[in-house]
Symmetry: D2
């Protein structure tokens, strides 16, 4: 958000606050109290927890910093809905979030309402300093991240029910990619001494900067994302049974987990189907393949005689005027870059400095955004990151190769 | 149930059916949909699952055997709510019962209503053969067992919430024992060649028979259950820190789990408190100690210079006219008997034969009944059983000693 | 050992000491320093450890109690070679015994020699009180137990080498059973109010007493042990694939471990072979089946329409004049009795009281003895015990049935 | 090795072969057969295995490719001593290498001798093509890597013995660093568009190339390695108890493992001591700190207000004429670079292509070399790599900072 006039900036943020918060609420339409309680693994939080934690963020980092802060909605929430901020104090165990039946969903929604009113009141009173406005903006971007997680987590929870229940009846998971009719082409990028990292006045996370120079040799990048049809060819050629295609850790993980297809895929009656938030659906050969681990994406690239792009290559290509489709809003695209700090990286001050920096190990960077990413959230410098074995995000790939 | 007239027997069972089923429903008063969804460990099932599984029992073993069986409420329930009956087919994984948000609690209660109507209709039509009446009776006893498990499981689920929510405000967990004013005395039992095992026409599980002879040397048995006050003395003398008091496996378990008090106990501000279904309560020194593992009960007995009774001693003493209090309705009492078949034991025919026999290993017998046992469910020959490390039942002890 | 004259008793024990200690040494002929170092699992100790620990027993419980005890061979051995005696102090971790390359085998054998000389010197000087003589006798029986464990452990260690090395070339593992030509018959035992438990002046462990009365209904017991041929019929009828034949815990263990045959069996070229201490050998159909867990023995019995005997039945039958073969020196025979204290059981005084009593949970009793049991070690009241999943002992079964 | 004349190249390699192989043999002086058998964790192989595996490399990749290859020493060794080369076939399980008592150490040394004779014979006959000479050279570098691993692994094995045995009496572990008297200074490096990666005709691993351009902003790098004294200051200021200093995964690992000091350190009688290959030694404050995980090195850097260098920074600084001491032969220096392929990286052809590339995930790069690295093995472009939690290598750090 690049608005220099403080008053205007406050107005714009107030309005955006309402939009983002309302969008979160819209996501739980069709979910029952019980649905919102589920936790299928430590990495995936209950929907109720997402609703509460995003609210906790505003209460803890914004409201509590006001000159006359409102009393906390419930003092116990401070621990219960802290995710990982050591600077804020104790936290409830991550893998036991699904055991919190009380507060109920109803109470959590009340919590949201009360905090929303308090935030709006502060907006109306002009009570937010520039620092607090920046934290509101961070909180809104934080909430948008949780909007996506809420969907991917809920999908994982539902998938553990042998009945494979549908969240809603409309179809959003398997949106065909824009470049469906595009041939499988590569576009050339000259590279050189380029700059990457966030630029301009708009919002960005601390991990997207500082903008800095990187040397890139010329390379080619695929004009669209790898499709289900492409990936089925890899499977048909024994991709999951040929150790020479895999990183050693990937091959171990494959065997440990019994992977033979992307997450949520099921073979029956001669065809592949997958579980989506809208129930079981036949695989669309033209749609981008998704729910791949880094290991699968990397093995696919090797099989295809190509490689994954680095994040600098991806950003350079995405920022240039190449005819690339599906960079955003389809699938997150694995890169072959480890999630590490940029040169001269400095975490934000205070507890929110724990947002990004402390996770810079054991994770690989994904670029772009997925169909579950809220509109307007991602940008070309955006760095998403997950461990190489993670499959429950909407994660796919596009290929690159040297020239 | 010892009623020989078939018509009368049917009438009595029909009436009992209504009572038992209604009692189950009464237990969930005060619980939300979310509360009923919780599963804190593989051994403890969600309340919703208990509600469904007990209904599944009648649908699968009784209604499906009618000459014109009603259609199944939902074919998917056959797998979803089977506990462990291999004879019935596949089962959903025990440790993932808490991930079933659909069917909802509302649907499960409908399931109960529909099955109840079908059972009542069959009663009214006189459609139950003697064999099916016996299965109805088994189903009611089965449901009563689950009534107790529902409470102990729900207690465990709630205890994982750091807020320690209360199920209801009344106080049932810490009922003072009848013999509160009784001195710590032992009663003498002559033993000899006695008979144990179920006798008479009333209902019993297959594992309570056949009645058979056992030789018992004379022994003494405590006239009341060990109290919290007694147990605090054991703790004060370092009971949890003296390996010589413990079985080797018990000492290992203690160290692995960090046991320093019975389950649900918490020390703060100079006193011991425990979590109950009615919230946190101060320890009542006169109430029987409960939530002990077999290991703790056995170590306590060694510390006290006594031992646990065998199940034959317990039954012999309980069936005699000794002045014993608290045999029933206080706490289950650990014995030093392994859960093994009686001589000439035969499992019941059909899939219900899996009810008891296949668990006759790695478990110790508890006798009596607890404050959570439904009225009229237990009897002197009743054999309860749990692994020696289990602590989430209302399990305590009374001492015995040789003469 | 029933010798009342103290002088004579000392002489007899001194001579027996030499025999038993020499027998242990004879067992390691053919083993290299490296062989004696192996530890394949926490339950199986290295041969070197057995050699040292049995010596530690004499040093700790006998020599250290002399009026003028010799200095310890090496003070560090006190911790290093203590198995589980809490009364003696700290112990080295059981699962890391295989990481002790120093002291070397050579030093451990020196340790044996030095302790042997000290014990002999004390014998010669008449320095052993009655109490110490009793501990010497216990130590010799203890060492005999470790002689058998040394063989079963070493077999397990070797089996983890894909080359399946042979200990020696002679053949001892698959000794044909005495009753090879005997029909599969049952002998009838009248039971009644019988006595079991050790009787007489000879040596016995504390867990074999006190002798006490037990009521037994009449029963039948197989005149020989179940053979490999018998067991192959069970396997041919799908024994390992039919859950209805198994205890619930047994079925879980079978699936977890992937059991499809007894331990050490391998199918190739149309026949079954097994690993023995003398290398791979074809299965002898007439030899008693061995390396079965309790679960397998129990499932076999159910398949055969019979059951396992209780330990009281076994002892009663073995002490009677029935035409039973293979009670001793073939395979340990699983019973359906849990390993629990006899009525009025008292552990021996002092640290040696930890020998037996503290393991009286989670184990099942085996009776008889195996081809690996040292001659003269077992007797009719002898109680061996292992957890129901243990398979690395020479464990088989004979059937029983009610009349 | 940069020798263009083939004949000369063969002669030089033949001579180097003898040296390297003899050096390996010299490392086991003072170790017993039992010492060489130890395996303390899956990551650390027995010394006997290192001796056999390095020989297997020559037999499998060199001798077997001769026109008239000699018969294999033992066909079973092909599987037994394969480390991870899928292209060569099956492998014995990594975590069970310590269970191979046969072949004995003596046989493995014979294996070495026989293969050495065969290699020498082929050298003498001029039988090695250029390709095979290259594989001999790779094999020698491979063996040198295992020389270092043999020492670090043997140190770990010995450390599991509570007696902390010494390998030899001389002192090599705690060599004081060259720059002991040097102040704690930083040297400035201008960076710019620099080249890194192997250059020239000498030997290098495939992962050190291709040489390529990298942009570096100016930075400073410490002129010597962080010392034990420096690290003790970090410990004294609560370094192990302040989560804000640690990466999230590092903090989790610290708590899981209970880290409170570098590996092998022990506090007693008011001072810190560490286990070395020469027994327990007092900590030398001036010696470089070692046996740190990446997490500890990274947390130390944050505490010190600095950071770890990237591998490009390290290489650029090391290749320049800065006054840096301890780059080599002291401790491996953790960098903040993930172990990933260089641009245009191509694995070597054939099974030896599995040497490096398939491990390019989940590891961090270390640069330099340690006191355990064989002389002449390392170079400025050398990339060592281990997972961030690994501590059993001689791993330390030097700091860097932005300008």
């Amino acid at each position: 958000m690049s608005v220099h006039n403080p008053l205007l900036r406050s107005e714009v943020l107030a309005s955006r606050y309402d939009e983002v918060r309302a969008h979160t609420r819209s996501l739980i339409e069709g979910l029952s109290d019980e649905d919102c309680q589920l936790q299928s693994m430590a990495d995936a939080s209950p929907t109720k927890w997402h609703l509460a934690h995003t609210t906790w963020f505003f209460e803890t980092f914004v409201l509590a910093s006001l000159e006359n802060p409102p009393p906390p909605f419930d003092p116990a929430f401070k621990v219960l809905f802290n995710s990982y901020y050591v600077g804020v104090g104790e936290r409830h165990q991550r893998n036991e979030r699904g055991l919190i039946s009380r507060p109920s969903l109803k109470e959590v929604l009340e919590y949201r309402d009360v905090v929303d009113q308090q935030v709006r009141k502060a907006f109306a009173a002009g009570g937010f300093s520039d620092t607090l406005l920046a934290l509101v903006e961070l909180g809104l971007n934080h909430e948008q991240q949780h909007q996506e997680l809420l969907l991917t987590d809920q999908k994982h929870h539902f998938a553990c029910n042998p009945l494979w229940p549908a969240w809603r009846s409309s179809s959003r998971d398997q949106a065909p990619q824009a470049g469906r009719d595009q041939a499988r082409q590569f576009a050339r990028c000259e590279g050189g001494l380029v700059e990457i990292g966030h630029v301009g006045d708009g919002f960005s996370y601390d991990n997207e900067g500082p903008r800095h120079r990187v040397w890139l040799d010329p390379f080619e990048i695929q004009t669209r994302n790898v499709s289900n049809g492409d990936y089925l060819a890899f499977m048909a050629e024994g991709g999951y049974n040929r150790p020479e295609l895999w990183l050693s850790d990937g091959w171990d993980e494959l065997n440990k987990q019994g992977w033979q297809a992307p997450l949520y895929w099921r073979y029956r009656d001669g065809d592949w189907y997958s579980f989506t938030l809208h129930g079981e659906q036949a695989i669309d050969h033209e749609a981008p393949v998704t729910h791949l681990s880094f290991y699968e994406a990397e093995a696919y690239a090797r099989w295809a005689g190509a490689r994954l792009p680095t994040e600098a290559e991806w950003e350079c290509a995405a920022a240039s005027d190449l005819p690339l489709s599906g960079l955003f809003d389809e699938v997150w695209q694995w890169t072959n870059s480890a999630y590490l700090p940029y040169p001269r990286y400095q975490p934000a001050a205070g507890a929110v400095g724990e947002y990004n920096g402390k996770f810079m190990i054991n994770q690989m960077v994904l670029r772009g955004s997925s169909l579950a990413t809220p509109p307007g959230h991602a940008r070309v410098s955006y760095r998403n990151f997950f461990p190489p074995q993670a499959r429950w995000q909407f994660s796919g790939l596009r290929l690159a190769r040297c020239i």
